[in-house]
Symmetry: C2
Subunit: 281 residues, 2 copies
């Protein structure tokens, strides 16, 4: 047992004092958040570790009830398929997370209370801001009304877009999203649009169209024009068909990846993995 102290690098040896973080998912083999946040904690010199907590939808409430009692737990990240179900299992969630209907990060307070937040949209907006594209005061067009689009719509309104147009194939879903935005932010200018993104400063693909070869475009690319910024939520492929079309139309493009990096920073802040808060929140 003499080589114990050499088996892990200094500061990365897990002890009884190590703060534990989890990621709730099912399946879980593909997750990358533990790798990223463990590297972040190592860089920050924090004594914490994130490990996979795989659990089925059926068993989520029982596991979460147990995790509330785990005093060494700092919190957990929540991903597919648990982002919606976790909302009601938290003791407290932000108003926007409740209206979005999803939570992706949960902090465990010292008294066991679970505080949930939805950082997908904030990560997207933070990624834009970090790239020098502040949506504040600009008009925005958002294609989609699913999970990602819901989070982004709230984050864009919270950042202060001058107006937001929602466009979705199933119009009722866009109207429902607009309704929830209006309840939360009565002064926000939100309207329902068509596939035509013209007349907006920032155009966002918040659908999954573009993930697969041969997907139809999420919006009418022939209506794009130079001066517009076209942003993507899809991370892989890095250049989706709509980004390629936007480039061809002379638009500035913003890929999906910065959203992830920014979101990891926001998760680290929310979970207390860092001593100092980040500039972009």
């Amino acid at each position: 047992m003499n080589d114990v102290s050499n088996a892990l690098p200094p500061g990365r040896e897990i002890s009884g004092l190590t703060r534990v973080f989890g990621i709730l998912a099912d399946p879980i083999h593909h997750v990358k958040t533990p790798q990223m946040l463990n590297a972040l904690m190592a860089r920050e010199g924090r004594d914490g570790v994130m490990v996979p907590f795989q659990v089925s939808s059926e068993d989520l409430p029982t596991l979460v009830a147990g995790l509330k009692r785990m005093k060494s737990l700092g919190g957990f990240v929540v991903t597919v398929p648990h982002k919606t179900a976790i909302v009601d299992l938290c003791d407290e969630v932000s108003d926007s997370a409740r209206r979005i209907g999803a939570v992706n990060t949960v902090r465990r307070e010292a008294d066991g209370r679970l505080v949930g937040e939805m950082l997908d949209g904030k990560g997207f907006v933070g990624g834009l801001v970090a790239a020098g594209i502040d949506p504040k005061g600009r008009s925005a067009y958002l294609a989609g009304a699913g999970g990602a689009a819901n989070a982004i719509a709230f984050a864009l309104v919270e950042r202060g877009v001058s107006r937001l147009t929602l466009a979705n194939r199933t119009r009722a879903k866009a109207e429902d999203l607009a309704q929830r935005l209006a309840e939360a932010y009565p002064a926000a200018a939100v309207e329902i649009g068509t596939s035509d993104p013209s007349g907006h400063d920032i155009v966002v693909n918040g659908t999954s169209l573009g993930l697969k070869d041969g997907d139809p475009l999420p919006l009418d690319a022939s209506r794009l024009s130079p001066g517009q910024i076209v942003a993507e939520v899809i991370m892989q492929p890095e250049e989706t068909a709509i980004l390629a079309a936007a480039k061809a139309a002379g638009c500035r493009t913003h890929p999906g990846k910065p959203m992830l990096a920014c979101q990891l920073d926001l998760m680290a802040d929310f979970l207390g993995m860092r001593a100092l808060p980040e500039a972009v929140r």
Copy 2:
């Protein structure tokens, strides 16, 4: 995020595939098992990690009910104050663990069943065997009837001592232990003794007397004689007063530490942290 892959050494990056192990304790700051078993898994090239699961006695049942549902969990080690309470929270425990009334290692099967085992005594006996002192066919004297002594008494009988003498200040506790041994092993020769260890091949201190300076000796050292082996469960100090007295009396001595190393091996085997089983079980 470019240095992610360099932050942890190869084979120690935690991913969605990493098997998670816990240690249940309260307080938990002092535990050493995660360090030891994480080093062991690193040496074995196993993709697993042990992290602290601190939980109060009151909250133990709720946490364990949750952990049953955690599909990425391989199992957990159980220590003070949960070794007794965990017995009834397991779906299955070995007969000897049930009779000892304590479990210190729990494996989670793929279907969520929790299988508990008590390895304290087996670790002690394994440590003796590894030092060339096989209790099989020898007579043994055991001072104490508490948690450690209970586990050791069962392990000595299971190993096949020719006879076992139990001595405890509170005689009723020794009688109760003898009774449970007789129920499990009707053929075993178990009797209640005094503080006099003479006439036994192996003499074991299974009490906590010797942990602190000025503790009384756990047995009558004036009755020790050359040819006897005197073994200790206390790890710190390495040479307790009874070991010093035994040496002075010409006995062979066996310190407390090998019990720990052997027990870690047994835990690793029981929890499936290794591909190949160990020779000593």
